[in-house]
Symmetry: C2
Subunit: 399 residues, 2 copies
């Protein structure tokens, strides 16, 4: 047994989050792709079956009231809120991340309408959909879109800047951007800060309220384990809600949705971010999935996450021949999310072989091996094994 | 046994669609609210359980390929296509109806950009969300929104008209609008026709291709029985797809979604209507629900639907004292959808009592009792019983 194997055992034995793993359906696979699709929480299958057979099958239409379907978007939003540092009443769940980026960004530009601001800054290294949707939001609000790296944002801000759309953690490199200082810089320039939390929510503290973020969006199928394509969410800071002017004012956001009035009148509060009828099956699966967070602090998750990625980098250094892979993920903790991205020749082929050997990460075009570490169900033994199998795989390829 | 009870028995015995009822989970309730939420198809619970436990729980991320998750929006669109008279390759499933109305209407206006057309006509009697979203689409494309009744559309069309948004069947009255002639009138004026099929798809022939409809949207949780909040769909006629310019160009609509390119390039075909990651649980529940249509023709459904609503109106006439209710639903078959709306004093209270007596319709503010007839699972005995219980309830209230 190697020294690192021993260390892994000791770290697992001391892991205060080790107990949450049993709340997930897992097997012998080392699953390091929870930053793409979280594993299945054990509470979900039974809950979904109840939603389908009893709530839909037996109660049918009555469930909109009796099973709490109608209020699910805001109820589940309130369950997500503490995970991203938000007080209740500021998040609604529904629609895809892309659709929520559109709501948030158009809404952001409208918050500063009349001020002559006509430029949207967007993270040039963003997950592509944010850039595509930002381009549409710019086009439809008469703004210009200007892609810049997060590091360039402070210098790019000007009296023209209406809104800035940034990712908290970069989907490719795993780099964590400095949300507090970037938000402060955006505000100092008089602009509106919109954050995409897809790769940070559920993995590290976000502090939306504490840092005065204006608007935020995120998905729920990564570190929140909501299931494939589970609905995204929209955060609108409380003091902005009265002025939030959604480009998608569907009937679910009306002050009196069942009044069936021809004139639109937006609801008060975060409800204003709702659009059409919520997809109840996916949404209530998410609600069951969020129960794994009962009694779990995001700070404890963050501590373990950093220990996992530190240990992975250490194991990779020890096992993998020098120069064969290069980490794109920053070493500094304050710049690291909950994944490690390794640049590697033949990354697509390497990942295929890793998966055949039961180590599941993913490949991002053109040369990145991406490994996500979900502290709720990944252990230090998994980490050591993943690095060892990676080294063996690269050795086989070289041989 | 009354003459109408006997007639109901004869009609049920002769019903060629009587066999489809056993494909649904039903009980002793007379369920006439399938125009709001369709009943649970028996195939759905097992399918959803497989999606959750095996596809998500065991295969996890592999299911995007191996379980056909990624291609579900267009595959299920192709399954809906014959139900609305569309050839394959023109429908994608995803997002809510409201979001799809936004895509369709902005896309419609952009199809005629550069022609100076700057007015959108919208059905003034529409389900409210269509009007709210149309107002947003108009605002964001520099158009004026003009609400008119469907009957006024031919006279309201002009060289200014960019697009017209109409409902095939009115959600409140159950009136069926003349899609072929209204579409022809819109085209004769050089404008784009957008139809909302929420209350017609699955209840009667639509003939999208035959009548040259440009764009259409619809929900899937009414006569298509997809479940609460199941995803809606968007139809873009084949010859318009290359010019369809979506206001929500999410990464799922990119020509090469996993290329992760910063420049947007729309996919060919109906895929262009996709946005973000599809909600797989709700979507695959819908796919299972659509299996009840195997071997069922929409024409047979329409024939039975008209027989059901005819018989209901006959039973109401026979049982309910003259003047106590008034049908808002047209008598002419060519003007009738698959529901009957009865204006009634104290309609809210009456519907509550009907539901207590196991006859489930719904109440629409301020004075409408709405009864939807889903030919796949509603029989003539149900119809007779519903009318009889309605008469008894009104009698009790009068007594």
């Amino acid at each position: 047994m190697s020294e690192l194997t021993v260390r892994a055992g000791e770290l697992d034995a001391a892991d205060e989050l080790a107990g949450t793993r049993k709340q997930f359906v897992l097997d012998e696979v080392v699953y390091l792709d929870g930053n793409s699709l979280g594993a299945l929480p054990a509470a979900v299958p039974g809950r979904v079956d109840d939603v389908v057979r009893r709530q839909w099958g037996a109660l049918r239409i009555r469930s909109w009231d009796e099973s709490g379907w109608w209020t699910a978007p805001e109820r589940i939003g309130d369950r997500i809120a503490p995970l991203v540092g938000a007080a209740a009443g500021q998040i609604v769940v529904g629609d895809s991340t892309s659709v929520n980026v559109f709501k948030a960004l158009v809404g952001a530009v409208r918050l500063v309408s009349g001020t002559g601001r006509d430029e949207i800054l967007v993270d040039a290294t963003t997950f592509p959909t944010d850039g595509y949707i930002a381009e549409s939001a710019a086009r439809m609000t008469g703004c210009t879109l200007r892609p810049v790296t997060p590091a360039e944002v402070p210098d790019a801000l000007s009296a023209r800047t209406a809104a800035v759309l940034l990712n908290h953690v970069d989907y490719r490199t795993g780099r964590l951007h400095d949300l507090p200082s970037l938000t402060a810089a955006v505000h100092a320039a008089g602009a509106v800060a919109v954050w995409d939390l897809c790769h940070s929510a559920g993995a590290l503290p976000v502090g939306l309220d504490e840092h005065g973020v204006d608007l935020a969006v995120g998905c729920t199928y990564k570190y929140l384990n909501g299931g494939p394509g589970s609905p995204a969410y929209l955060y609108v800071r409380r003091d902005l809600q009265d002025r939030f002017d959604s480009p998608l004012p569907g009937w679910n956001s009306h002050a009196e949705p069942f009044g069936m009035r021809s004139a639109y009148e937006p609801a008060a509060g975060a409800l204003r971010g709702r659009v059409g009828t919520p997809d109840i099956l996916s949404m209530l699966a998410l609600e069951a999935a969020l129960e794994v967070w009962d009694g779990v602090s995001v700070e404890a998750v963050r501590t373990k996450s950093l220990a996992l990625t530190d240990f992975f980098l250490e194991c990779v250094s020890a096992y993998v021949p020098e120069g064969r892979v290069e980490s794109l993920t920053p070493l500094a903790h304050r710049e690291r999310g909950s994944q490690v991205a390794l640049r590697c020749d033949d990354a697509g082929d390497v990942m295929k072989r890793l998966i055949e050997r039961a180590v599941v990460g993913d490949f991002r075009h053109p040369d990145v091996l991406r490994f996500g570490f979900t502290p709720l169900y990944v252990g230090f033994g998994d980490v050591e094994r993943a690095a060892r199998v990676l080294a063996e795989t690269l050795g086989d390829l070289a041989g």
